[in-house]
């Protein structure tokens, strides 16, 4: 569906995308994840045909999007990061207008219902909530019955319930057999929706895999943390804990490969001293931790703002 080799894009001296490779297969929901300014929007706009690349090979539906024609646009749908609706039209009318642009569009009313706007079909779009407007964006991307959909940060700025509703709609695209290329800076979004994730940071792909695989790479490290019990100093901690632990005002945390022996030592020590271990937590890193760790370096470099 999508194949990218060595993609580069520079704006003057600034290299927004520094040689990335991507492969997206038919029927999968692919999440392109990264912080603002990492090169996500630049990349997706090159794939959509809105922007010319500086180097590398790109093929979307077998065509170079730089040479995209009407036939190609029949087969793709876009939800752009920022694109307001026409306030004077209703959702039904808006979808009907866009249906006219395609050779074999989906049914208008069914598509409006599919994105959960059945009851709002005849209300002016100006009166819809942000979440409802975004779902109408998805309906417009879907009305041409495309094989491939690009969703550029579809839930940015949403409250949790609007986000969940949007996720239901996007998840539903899988049942329609659509291939979805989703960009997001929300880890939970990638985790909730995607079959595969690529993490981009400062113009480079720093990790790819299923959400499980990405979380799993660092699975071996488990973090044990607690607050320092009253009347106990760092020197009082058992050696096994003290060595390699981070001790600060917030408490003690230590990363280990196998948490079981260390926990036994720690709890034995606490029992013997007759102190508690307030706020004791044993946790494996989430995908979020992996993401933060992978993208942290780039942030410290002061990567530029998102070039749009």
């Amino acid at each position: 569906m999508i194949s990218v080799r060595g993609l580069r894009k520079s704006y003057g001296d600034f290299e927004a995308v520094r040689g990335i490779d991507l492969e997206v297969d038919a029927g999968e929901i692919f999440a392109f994840l990264g912080p603002n300014g990492a090169g996500k929007t630049t990349t997706v706009e090159i794939l959509e045909g809105y922007r010319e690349r500086s180097g590398g090979e790109v093929s979307v539906l077998g065509i170079d999007p730089q040479a995209a024609d009407r036939g190609w646009r029949q087969r793709v749908g876009f939800v752009l990061q920022e694109s307001r609706l026409v306030p004077e039209l209703t959702p039904r009318e808006t979808v009907e207008q866009f249906a006219g642009y395609y050779a074999s569009p989906r049914d208008v009313d069914e598509t409006v219902r599919l994105v959960g706007l059945g009851e709002k079909a005849d209300v002016r779009t100006a009166k819809l909530s942000g979440g409802q407007q975004r779902r109408l964006d998805v309906a417009l991307a879907l009305i041409g019955d495309p094989e491939l959909l690009f969703l550029d940060e579809p839930t940015t700025g949403f409250d949790p319930s609007a986000r969940r509703q949007a996720w239901e709609v996007i998840g539903g695209l899988r049942r329609l057999g659509k291939t979805v290329f989703l960009t997001t800076h929300y880890m939970e979004e990638a985790q909730a929706l995607a079959d595969r994730v690529a993490i981009i940071s400062a113009g480079r792909i720093v990790a790819t895999g299923s959400p499980e695989e990405l979380g799993g790479e660092q699975e071996s490290r488990t973090e044990i943390s607690f607050r320092m019990p009253a009347g106990v100093g760092a020197a009082d901690l058992p050696d096994a804990v003290r060595v390699g632990a981070r001790i600060d005002a917030g408490g003690v945390s230590v990363g280990v490969d196998d948490p079981v022996p260390l926990l036994r030592e720690l709890t034995t020590w606490a029992t013997q001293r007759g102190v508690g271990l307030p706020g004791l937590q044993v946790r494996r890193p989430s995908l979020e931790d992996v993401y933060l760790e992978l993208t942290e370096g780039a942030r410290a470099d002061g990567a530029g703002e998102d070039r749009k």
């Binding site: 959509e48 646009r73 029949q74 752009l80 920022e82 642009y101």
Partner: protein, 255 residues
């Protein structure tokens, strides 16, 4: 859909959007009528010296000039930059809709609004102020209207192409057309305007469009009323606008 059906489809939605927007209807449709009532009432019996017509007869073609430019240049040059900035043009560009069809829908929309306005102004002029609707110069009036609406639509796309932001659009557009209305005799009868000023206004298309429209409405016109020289200047400006629009028009917001 065939090409023509798609233009009709696009035009139908442009019309729906226009009539549902109270601000657009006020500025494009009502404001010219308000000007007509004001000016024609104030000056209806004043003889316009040198032209040998009454004030009301002068102001009907003058306000038609205003109305056509409002429905074309002003409307396009204020709406398109706003739609570009809102990402609406970018979204449309991502669909299979051919750009030419989009443009045709908009020009058709402006043309139809212009025709409606000319009809309204003519009827008000005839019924309220006793202005004679042209008969033997009617073909000249319609040709002038068509040529003007197309040319001023092209200029609207040209202005939309060079105006950078939605915020700048109304200011730039009004700063362009309002002084030219005054200098071209649309608001002030031309016998009150010094020759030098009229010569300056002759460099721009508004004055020529008005003169061609005036001849078609002038009861003293003896021939068919075609002002080919004036229309040629209007067309030349339209083609210049078209060239600028083709070169510089952008669908995506500037950032």
């Amino acid at each position: 859909m065939t090409g023509r059906a798609l233009v009709r489809h696009q035009f139908r939605f442009d019309q729906k959007i226009f009539w549902r927007n109270p601000a657009a209807v006020f500025f494009t449709a009502l404001l010219p009528l308000i000007f007509l009532f004001m000016l024609a009432t104030l000056f209806k019996d004043n003889e316009i010296s040198g032209l040998d017509v009454k004030g009301a007869t002068y102001y009907v073609p003058a306000i038609i000039t205003l109305a056509v430019i409002s429905a074309t240049t002003v409307k396009l040059a204020t709406n398109l930059p706003a739609e570009r900035e809102a990402g609406q043009l970018k979204r449309v560009r991502g669909t299979p809709l051919p750009p030419a069809t989009f443009v045709a829908g908009r020009v058709g929309n402006s043309l139809v609004i212009s025709v409606i306005m000319v009809a309204l102004i003519s009827v008000v002029g005839a019924l309220v102020y006793g202005v004679t609707i042209p008969t033997h110069t009617m073909p000249a009036m319609l040709v002038t209207l068509a040529v003007g609406a197309f040319s001023f639509s092209c200029l609207g796309f040209a202005l939309a192409a060079v105006i950078p932001t939605a915020e700048a659009a109304p200011a730039v557009t009004n700063a362009t057309v309002l002084p030219l209305y005054f200098l071209s005799g649309v608001f002030i009868p031309q016998n009150e305007i010094p020759d030098g000023v009229l010569n300056f206004a002759d460099a721009f298309p508004i004055r020529h469009f008005f003169e061609a429209m005036f001849t078609a409405w002038d009861p003293n016109t003896t021939g068919s009323g075609f002002e080919l020289g004036h229309l040629a200047v209007v067309v030349a400006w339209g083609l210049l606008g078209l060239a600028i629009a083709i070169r510089l028009f952008r669908w995506e917001p500037r950032r």
